[in-house]
Symmetry: D3
Subunit: 209 residues, 6 copies
Amino acid sequence: MGKSNTKAGRKAQNQRRPAAGDDDHKVTALKLAPAELTPDMAAYFAKCEEKLGFVPNVLKAYAFDMAKLSAFVAMYNDLMLAPSGLSKLEREMIAVAVSAQNRCYYCLVAHGAAVRQLSGDPPLGELMVMNYRAARLSNRERAMLDFAAKLTAEPWLVEEEDRGRLREAGFSDRDIWDIAAVAGFFNMTNRVASATDMRPNSVYHGQAR
Amino acid sequence: MGKSNTKAGRKAQNQRRPAAGDDDHKVTALKLAPAELTPDMAAYFAKCEEKLGFVPNVLKAYAFDMAKLSAFVAMYNDLMLAPSGLSKLEREMIAVAVSAQNRCYYCLVAHGAAVRQLSGDPPLGELMVMNYRAARLSNRERAMLDFAAKLTAEPWLVEEEDRGRLREAGFSDRDIWDIAAVAGFFNMTNRVASATDMRPNSVYHGQAR
Amino acid sequence: MGKSNTKAGRKAQNQRRPAAGDDDHKVTALKLAPAELTPDMAAYFAKCEEKLGFVPNVLKAYAFDMAKLSAFVAMYNDLMLAPSGLSKLEREMIAVAVSAQNRCYYCLVAHGAAVRQLSGDPPLGELMVMNYRAARLSNRERAMLDFAAKLTAEPWLVEEEDRGRLREAGFSDRDIWDIAAVAGFFNMTNRVASATDMRPNSVYHGQAR
Amino acid sequence: MGKSNTKAGRKAQNQRRPAAGDDDHKVTALKLAPAELTPDMAAYFAKCEEKLGFVPNVLKAYAFDMAKLSAFVAMYNDLMLAPSGLSKLEREMIAVAVSAQNRCYYCLVAHGAAVRQLSGDPPLGELMVMNYRAARLSNRERAMLDFAAKLTAEPWLVEEEDRGRLREAGFSDRDIWDIAAVAGFFNMTNRVASATDMRPNSVYHGQAR
Amino acid sequence: MGKSNTKAGRKAQNQRRPAAGDDDHKVTALKLAPAELTPDMAAYFAKCEEKLGFVPNVLKAYAFDMAKLSAFVAMYNDLMLAPSGLSKLEREMIAVAVSAQNRCYYCLVAHGAAVRQLSGDPPLGELMVMNYRAARLSNRERAMLDFAAKLTAEPWLVEEEDRGRLREAGFSDRDIWDIAAVAGFFNMTNRVASATDMRPNSVYHGQAR
Amino acid sequence: MGKSNTKAGRKAQNQRRPAAGDDDHKVTALKLAPAELTPDMAAYFAKCEEKLGFVPNVLKAYAFDMAKLSAFVAMYNDLMLAPSGLSKLEREMIAVAVSAQNRCYYCLVAHGAAVRQLSGDPPLGELMVMNYRAARLSNRERAMLDFAAKLTAEPWLVEEEDRGRLREAGFSDRDIWDIAAVAGFFNMTNRVASATDMRPNSVYHGQAR
């Protein structure tokens, strides 16, 4: 409880080790040569640079194959950005709660930042990473995350009763599909990221703190 | 060990209950009105009818929204049918071993049939469903499935050592991506299927026995 | 979704690997010389041949010692075939649901076939193997399998409340004993089979599909 | 660390609650009227009274049906008392280590006493109940219990490598069968006991301390 | 069920192996030279000798460093002996139920003896070690142990609803703190004991049987 | 990937919900009136205010009882701040890795900040929270955290072999004690925090990002 708070002090203590998570030079542990971007994908990367200031590493990771990159981008953008009964923040909350169950470093960093940004509530991002059950959530949010968490940890136990709880919390059948699809999607990307040791862009760490 | 083997006998015993898994009239537990198929998707459905004799229920389930259906089909076909260092059978074996971990009825039925068909070895399909560790597998197949199973059950424990075991078994970095991507994909679809109680086409049950 | 469906096509694809589960030449991984059958056991084996067309491999596995074989047969026949408040199909459903929890290849193959036969409903057999919770079951069947599954996975949590749920579903105390005894028995045989790599007779695979 | 040690003091403190585990008046939570003992079983019960001073409650629990009681006794006596490459103590050690995994009160009390008696080493009985890994065991004993524990907790992971470790520790194929059969048997009885809330004879508690 | 009960018989059988848990010469697996006892700690050890007849091994284990020993003793005595809405027996019951979840040999032996002594009911000590759910407990005791067990196994799932159940069982907010603190403390000591292979004083084994 | 980045935009989006984790008005879910601080504790609180700028909420939580507060502070300061073969950063890394396993919001926030501060490497703090296995660690750090994680999740499996791995990584027996003691301590505090819904001071969130 009595730590040195000066930047110099911290730097000195840190001399014995290199930074632990910050090797942006490499996106994954796999050596896959980037393919030439198709015009569509080149435009998409340019749009990322313009709007975010960088190209998310997950896109660079998929860029060894344009068919895979395009399919990923199409599915991602539909799920996370297209019109839905779920707000963008709600979809990001699902992303982080699922990634917390799977302890996926890449997705927790990137989507934890998104929750902080979209909510304007930095501790909410931390809570999604650490234990969503400790957050002060609306009934709707809690029902949504409980469903996503169960679907992640024990999908074989999900039944009509679970869908019923979502309906009671006000979700439509279409909303239930979207919750399932977003939770499912991050169960996929968490595993691709963990399997390949995908590293997040370091810029996420400081965003919206 | 002394069961009635005549078809009539079985029918009689069965009178007290309806068939347990065979309600093809409904694809999922969600009421989502089908959208109008785009020309591309209409052509794809027609091709399924022609080659398989039916449209897989998962496609009907996604057909309430053409953007979602297209993205799913694009990703599925790239992963399972495009050129890869993994054979189509190997990709289906991953699909079933992952779905067995997640106890997903839809995917086990549909892709269990695919393993039986592609291998010409019906017990292999059963083994993938029941416990892939009991199968007589090549070192390559076993390493592939062990990686997929660990990635499914405990993705947070997957590390360089696990990738190393795949490399020792002869897999390239591109192959490792494909194993991860297929395993990841079925971790997604297993959850969409379980979340929505998706039911497989009953025709799968009798295929390639 | 576009697999070759011809038998020749499948044979060709399969040339690179031997059949995966079909080595009937060996019943278990243990080398135990068969003992001489007692007259009782010889008669029992003959009855199996006559009624089933084969001697189940589990019996051959126990046949290195007549005391063990006799005790196993006596207990098996009492549990699965003697009069009980549970139908033979119900007892087989328990057998498969328990074996699914334990992922026992031998018992899933042999008793999955029994569920298909006794029910005349092949998908029901598949559902018991894959995830009994996805089956359309009566309340009675569901309560019975939920009890058996909990007793298999977390026996230390079974309490009066669990027995109460069986009673509410119409089971008598004697029925509860029988559910427990059948579930317990397969928790035993699953482990003997897994410990010894017991292989099922290949004839089961095609039965009652 | 400063508790009253006098018997009177303890009795006084205890007045507020009845004894917690000592209701011998009831053997299980199920109401099953005892059947008339067959001559064989009557003789066996008499032998128990003579040699042990009491009839173990598990036998009373099965005594509602003579076929079930006889089959249980035949299997139990063959497994635990017949000639085997495993000593009686080794078989009891397996019984307790398995029952500890399953947290079965009945079997831990009855067979914990057996380990204390057969070994003449009371702490060994406690170690089997609490955590066999903390005991000072021979390589042979440790290999045997590691196999039994894995077979109990995750039977689907048992493979040739596990059998190989038993062979390295000096066990024959017949011994491996016996280890599997004893471990399997207690996985059965643990579940029958837990399912029925079977209570041990209170006399076990004080034996061989 | 027919074991030799004579002490000589047991001794003979036991000649092949040394006692399994009884090596009091060594308190932990770590070689840490004892420090000189401070006057306070020397007085405390003397008081243990006087009241218990021995110094508990956990104290000897901490005695390599007086600051650590003092802090441990202060916390232990406050939690287990200071005034509280929980009786000393209730606190010991929590200690054993927590230690059973963590399968900690040291704490189960030492605090199992404490439950036997304080309750005057030896089977109650066994039940806490083996499976507290099998004990005949008051609602208050059961609610307390269910909370402690959940807090031990899945602390991240503990929420207001769990505290609510304690309040319904009559516990005050201060009592809830004490239940949490005692359960937390044994989650600490269980791990220190397991990490260092701490061995209990052998005298505990025979106490209050 | 295209989120509004302006503070005003975020504020607007956030109007529909209160901040999720930031209710400093309440330290725990328990109503426990603060006791009068002893002179020692008053001095300690004053020192916290002076050095940290605030009193950590965990201290306020314990301040309903001076004996409990003093014992906690004594143990905490000895473990985390006294001389040890482990650096303060290493001890904080253990704290966070253990708290991540237990998903404890309070400890992850407070000690995650400490890792960021002491290391001068903000991503290292995130990695400890999210999945320490993804961090670029020295062999020494990795061995230390693997031991702490196993001790947290499955203490009953920790054996001489595990201590051996620490020794191979260069740790002395005294270091092993300290690793165990720190890991044990946070297994305690995680549970006290989770049991009482302890909330961290909000100032931690922005520290050393």
